[in-house]
Symmetry: C2
Subunit: 515 residues, 2 copies
């Protein structure tokens, strides 16, 4: 399989149909693919050969779309860069994978000098935007216009297609190597659920495109040959406006975004009945937020997907119908059509249903490996299964319940407490907008349960009330022993709560068992 197939089909099926909408700029499939074939020609002229890496450091846009597609069309490998990273971190990753070309937009033009200084082998910088271009950069449009379209290089199968740097929440980032087959296996298998990107629809890129959560939806729409709408970054009113203005049918959001959207005071001004499917994942959604989301968007089918970059990225799915079941809706769903999922103990032996262990996954969606890290690759893929590092259990119908990231699990007095469970209870309180539960050092118990709470707008609540609320619903050892109120949680670029940041002040100078 090769990732450019969908472009050929789209031109064949709907040459005059809309491929991309980015602000006032609208392009048909014929126009968009012509630009992609020209940009690929330009990239080849600049020296990008088969398997060479081209990085993108940009907010969402049609240029991002064209750069990803053109890199594959030219035979290259895409490296989407995490927008939250420092210039030093970005440069380090681009040195590691020896990126030859970098596309930046106006928002990141200012980072180029610093990246270039640390990575002199970076040969060409492309710039897409109206603002001042970095020194020596080539304007994307100029490259497109001056270059002749080339034939699709038609790389595919096990050829490396993308490098994603994972994490940022803990540990040093690793470059995850994904092939054409890896990415298309996850895409086709997820489309096969009839719950992913809908046929003949319009998808809104609101989550950041550098993250594989939005990228997998981008690939789904690439296979479908539908319309992509881009907003630079998530912002509730921008999402609401785009949905109405462009007839958006499908969107992927992370739970934090859904919370901000459904709790936004202007949401009710917009007619959102055109939204057919809301996809979410990347982190668990608390029940309180899910309830409010289902009420705000009663016409949309909510589907949850669970996975990770190393799985290209999807492993399980919770269908819209499953959301009607009060128990199942707390799960991450069941193995998707392209993959196998098991729960194993630390010796990789499958555990009985209901017992918490590590979630492992097998299938053609499992990464080729970590860039230049053979030992960590072998460790992650031991026995032919990807070890997710997530703790969870499976019920008798194959539903996977994520207990916690194994490193977010709190061990207090020898008992395991899953932060996700406590968070789910806390967000059920009407005065709680969102929260994070972490383990902090405790002289007596080793760790104790601590809650960091963001109060709902205009709500007033005391820590004592919240403790009582929890104590009525969960065991005493799970009830937070301490709490703090905070304005907002620190988030990663993908919208995941950075628990490592929350834990840091408490653990300064100490060592957690797992971190």
């Amino acid at each position: 399989m090769n990732l450019t197939q969908g472009l050929h089909r789209a031109v064949q099926r709907r040459p005059d149909g809309t491929a991309t909408i980015c602000g006032a700029r609208v392009r048909t499939h014929a126009e968009s693919v012509d630009r992609i074939a020209r940009l690929a020609g330009g990239l080849r002229d600049l020296g990008l050969g088969d398997g060479d890496r081209a990085a993108v450091l940009s907010l969402n846009s049609d240029s991002y779309h064209e750069m990803l597609a053109a890199t594959w069309w030219a035979g290259g490998v895409v490296v989407p860069v995490n927008l939250r990273w420092s210039v030093a971190e970005i440069a380090e990753s681009l040195v590691e994978v020896d990126a030859r070309v970098l596309l930046v937009d106006d928002a990141f033009a200012g980072s180029v000098a610093g990246i270039h200084a640390a990575h002199p082998r970076l040969q060409h910088v492309l710039h897409a935007g109206d603002g001042p271009a970095p020194d020596g950069a080539i304007a994307l449009d100029e490259l497109v216009e001056r270059s002749a379209p080339v034939e699709d290089a038609h790389r595919g199968g096990d050829d490396l297609a993308a490098l994603f740097y994972t994490g940022g929440t803990t540990g040093r980032s690793k470059g995850v190597m994904l092939s054409h087959d890896n990415l298309l296996t996850s895409t086709l298998g997820t489309l096969a659920t009839e719950q992913f990107i809908s046929p003949d629809g319009t998808y809104l890129h609101a989550a950041p495109m550098f993250h594989i959560a939005d990228l997998t939806a981008w690939l789904g729409q690439l296979v479908r040959g539908g319309t992509h709408v881009f907003i630079p970054a998530f912002e509730p009113v921008a999402v609401l406006t785009a949905v109405v203005e462009h007839g958006v049918t499908d969107v992927l959001l992370v739970p934090t975004m859904i919370q901000m959207l459904v709790d936004h005071p202007r949401t009710e001004e917009f007619d959102l009945t055109g939204l057919r499917r809301v996809l979410y994942g990347a982190s668990p959604m608390s029940e309180g937020v899910l309830d409010r989301a289902l009420k705000t968007l009663p016409d949309a089918a909510f589907t949850q997907f669970y996975g990770m970059t190393e799985l290209s990225p999807l492993a399980t799915g919770l269908s819209a119908a499953d959301h009607d079941d009060p128990v199942r809706r707390r799960s991450a769903g069941r193995a998707l059509p392209h993959t196998e999922v098991r729960i194993v103990d630390s010796d990789d032996v499958e555990l009985p249903r209901g017992e918490v262990g590590e979630i492992v996954v097998r299938g053609d969606n499992v990464m080729l490996g970590y860039w230049d890290r053979p030992a960590e690759t072998a460790e992650a893929l031991r026995g032919g299964w990807m070890h997710t590092g997530d703790g969870g259990y499976m019920d008798d119908d194959g539903y996977v319940y994520i207990a916690d990231r194994i490193k977010d699990m709190i061990i207090t007095g020898g008992e395991n407490v899953y932060s996700a469970e406590v968070e789910s209870v806390l967000t059920g309180h009407p005065a709680v907008a969102t929260c994070a539960v972490i383990g902090i050092p405790d002289e007596k118990w080793g760790e104790r349960v601590h809650a960091v709470v963001v109060p709902a707008a205009g709500a007033s609540v005391t820590i004592g009330e919240l403790r009582e609320f929890c104590a009525d619903r969960i065991a005493g050892y799970k009830t937070p022993k301490s709490m703090e109120l905070i304005d907002s949680l620190p988030l990663s670029g993908a919208g995941k709560v950075l628990k490592v940041e929350l834990r840091k002040p408490y653990w300064a100078g100490r060592q957690r068992a797992v971190n």
Copy 2:
């Protein structure tokens, strides 16, 4: 990807759900997969090693299902045998692929002695049925009961999974080699249309399982993990009864079967509203039959798929909504999500839209090759595209219109006549049940258009009336110059009209340009 994945998921998701219904015999997923793992153990004990071939010569049944699955579970390669073949033809193919094991049912127990005589290397014959077993055969149930379950051999990817002998309509049969990835690419890509096997449904095997048309639906249901219902062979009342009795939601039929079903006098006695999706393909459906089918089953979504064994098997699909368009419904639809389709001239150059050429297909669904026929493989796959041998054109929206099998095309006075077009007009006449249009020798024009017509039950029609009906609708050179009335058309095992048989008496002692 590996073809046994779906079995593992089914046991995980619905251990107590119904896997197979065959007459009075009902088995859950847990029971069925346990039998498959035992049968795989038995096959290994009998000496079936990785990549060894196991053949099946049987009407549809749960034993067929178990044998296919167990062969893969054991690491072997399945060889479904064409039921219409003579014992000599069967033996010849089994010698060619060196099949070591053969499963037969009661209907074919009598063929074993002849096969064994011609193929002494056949080591073991398994028998599933209540009738007398062939000499030396092992009862399938006995092998299942006496064998311990084994671990799934977990072969997959490019490993050979199945050998299908194609054709029978013309020329010498070739063994088409399909890998696990080939078959799963077509399956997942077709499921991704949201028009193939429905989620959580019940599929009826009415078309013969040895043919890849039903086998692809079987694979779709294997991935879905739903329920399989088996009837030994297509028979209208058996289909109608099974649909009502077992709550069948999905069925694949070839057009000849649909015609027999909708024209059957007892059809209206049955409540068929539970049927969600009727899949058809393998040969074109005439408009008259399609109209009657849409009227008989107004609640079912009709979807057409086009492909061939060498494409594992699917390349294009015509959605249910496309059937509402009077022009598009005459097409075979558009490229499926896993594949690329083009129309090329004899130099493999892509033709402009609307021009008839050869349909070629590219993607991971394209076969590994023909067994032991490297020259024919290279010829069929030249340039990396599978050359289908079908003539057709593509419209501006990517819809592929099959003009004809290139060898069924009639050349009369230098004009190309596509038999499918003439057949479509003829079956629009209310007195015509079905028909076949062929080219027969003509002194003046080289070939002339000849129609073989099966009149509708109870209808009376004259050849003169039919000629006039055609002459009102198509050009003079396309109107049949001669006709014959016949009780039924000769069909291949897959339900395709054997035009070579119809042509034979006319061409005796002569050579057609293409045959």
